[in-house]
Symmetry: C2
Amino acid sequence: MFRNFRLVPNIIFGRGCFDQLDEIISKQRSDTSSWAVFVVDKVFQGKPLEKRLPLHDRDLLLWADTTHEPKTSYVDELTLQTKEFHSQLPCAVMGIGGGSAMDLSKAVSLMLTNEGSSTLYQGWDLIQNPAVYHAAVPTLSGTGAEVSRTAVLTGPEKKLGLNSDYTVFDQVVLDPELTEGVPREQHFYTGMDCYIHCVESLEGNFINEFSRAYGEKSLELCRQVFLEPHENARDKLMMASFFGGMSIAYSQVGACHALSYGLSFVLGTHHGIGCCITFDALEEYYPKGVAEFRTMMDKAGVDIPRNVTADLTSEQMETMITVALGLDPLWENCLGKDWKTIMTRDKARQLFLRM
Amino acid sequence: MFRNFRLVPNIIFGRGCFDQLDEIISKQRSDTSSWAVFVVDKVFQGKPLEKRLPLHDRDLLLWADTTHEPKTSYVDELTLQTKEFHSQLPCAVMGIGGGSAMDLSKAVSLMLTNEGSSTLYQGWDLIQNPAVYHAAVPTLSGTGAEVSRTAVLTGPEKKLGLNSDYTVFDQVVLDPELTEGVPREQHFYTGMDCYIHCVESLEGNFINEFSRAYGEKSLELCRQVFLEPHENARDKLMMASFFGGMSIAYSQVGACHALSYGLSFVLGTHHGIGCCITFDALEEYYPKGVAEFRTMMDKAGVDIPRNVTADLTSEQMETMITVALGLDPLWENCLGKDWKTIMTRDKARQLFLRM
């Protein structure tokens, strides 16, 4: 059985294409009572992008606080705010920002049509009803959230996404200009999220020629961006992110993402930097990838926090291990069906202690 | 203004995934009166694939005669046959075969909901109404018809596609196993269609980093298939075809495709071989590409017909030139806005005489 894979059905790409957003949303505004929700990363409050948002009178602007990784409680709060704003459903939910803002907008668009708390839907294919039309404008490249079928959320019990075909955006607006102001460290960490998930995809057991073609090209683009000076580096990283997302959409990530989920769950570490911290400890599993990652880190003049697990209580460590080992498909992709005999709790603990 | 580009929203990839076709179509069969049309390349009549077609009692099987390139008159005939089969519209039109069968199925799905002859819609964005749900199962890799927004047809006056967002398939089933029986020459000619349109895309004026990422990877896969012995060559060529289609969907083809349309219109030359004959005469415009194409031709042990235009009447030659020079966007992509001062009728004649 092969998965019938849902793709983003509409893409616009180009420097300045953000200016066409109003026209794109207008196709969803069926009558004068139609209204849209904009979920926009709070970092843009008071920035030039705020003035460029194509808000109409009846629209709702939600500034998304991305200080912390998206939480189920925050999704429930934003959903409630949207429901209370108007009794009628919005015609569109727009996510503008990095992975967090995009995942929040995906989750809100799903929770508007699926009852109860978002915690109920953390897992695979638990969503029952189609989402409200939702579109993404990434302002940060690397996460692949713009094409993935998940909205990664931290809940009271686990960090796990709302994985479903309904999660996939209906439209993506890829404007490389919007990524120009990203701070150097964040540019690196988020770019490495892409690099790392492509290594995990390409070296995993679930690989096929579809994922390989996307993953290989994504890695090549990452190398152009992070190892050699190249023209159009922002455009290239945006394509690397898109291709990386396409690669894992049909295969799976691996050990690094699994462990990083444990780290984020307990320490609240943001995803990009969490992946970097984790990957640096995984030489045993991805020797070539880790070596190249370190070269990229040198070139970028960026470092990662060390000894992040040194002060954990044993209870925190056990939780971290439990969350990480709960991600079966990721481990099976990396280590095969017998992964439990290899990645024991002790082994996971040793790896965490290296971070 | 950037084009908001329509993608195939559902893709399944893998050896043997053809067996999931019935399940995929079943989602379109809303009630017991639902019926589907299968437009299947006639070469499969009496072949093992015929027995594997997931036909239901009420379904219509149309064997597509691909002896000639798809004609508007043939599309109109197949559409009429479909309309006469049942007063209600079919729930799905399935195209199974190479570029011709896929383009015929696209065109039928469009003409079932758009009145009049298909000749009325040869051009860009002339289609008024959405098509019937339509899906493709390519059995030949290279054309990119599985992802393109066109259905190329030869009409009484021109060879020109039905270009529209509605033309794009709703589903593509990519099963590399189905391409195993393709004769050596056809495998080469159709693979070269992909190679050539990627060269045209990458060296054209309309290129952006989106088209470049797809085009470069497609060329690399073509090289793996045609220059080096590689595992999974059929899978790789299927991905090359998909990526090549994605590359030109956001850029454009060039001189070779424009001239080959003239050739096909007058001589009925099939598209793949027509591209090869034309490309071989275009060293002046694509020197590196033509050199590599000749190496691939040598390796494949395949040759192309020569002196195909030697016996043309002057009237035929003038028609050939008129059809080729009618494709403005292709020439602008290749030669820039002033292309008419470069590609004069005399110059086009010289090029045709070399073929």
